[in-house]
Symmetry: C2
Subunit: 113 residues, 2 copies
């Protein structure tokens, strides 16, 4: 029942930290596929894929839906958006600081002249 919790930045970045999980996201970015179809290009066991999918789903990066005996996996765009936002926020913070430094250096120059 965990997959309905609000996905945390923590879980999202942890999920993105593994190269295999990032490859899963890359594959799913092209089109939704089944669990078995994921396992083939990744060259790992079905069980391993399922374990990765569990993390990807609870982190909110991927959504899956089981119809009959096959589970179809697809990207859940909101997850990646959250990660992108965190990075954007750090960047604006850093840029604002640079602007302040810039301003400071300018006023110092004006004092001298």
């Amino acid at each position: 029942m965990k997959q309905f919790d609000k996905p945390s930045i923590d879980l999202i970045f942890r999920a993105l930290g593994d190269p295999t999980r990032r490859e899963i996201i890359e594959i799913l970015s092209e089109k939704p596929v089944s669990v078995t179809q994921l396992a083939v290009p990744l060259n790992i066991s079905l069980a391993a894929v399922v374990q990765h999918l569990q993390l990807l789903e609870t982190s909110g990066l991927v959504r899956t839906e089981k119809i009959g005996r096959t589970r179809t996996c697809r990207i859940e765009p909101n997850g990646l958006a959250l990660a992108g936002k965190w990075i954007e926020n750090r960047r604006t913070l850093w840029e604002r600081r640079l602007d302040q430094l810039d301003l400071y250096l300018k006023t110092q120059k004006e004092k001298k002249s």
Copy 2:
């Protein structure tokens, strides 16, 4: 000499996967600080901070400079930019796919009418 290598997406996301390292980035987003100044709010040993800094530096997310006996750490903006770009690329791929689906559904509708 590793810190002059081209930083890989792999190292960057691995670095961002740890909450302590993300907190280091958050602290450094405000202003550059020394290693000891990092250790205080993180509540971990100096040695642990140094280990995190090593990963952050080889991944290209942080740059450090030692003057006298203190090492000053600051954000290296290119690193975060690379991570942001990866996320953006996945998102545009996914969006393009949705557009194609949209187009397909539209042409199907036109066939019927």
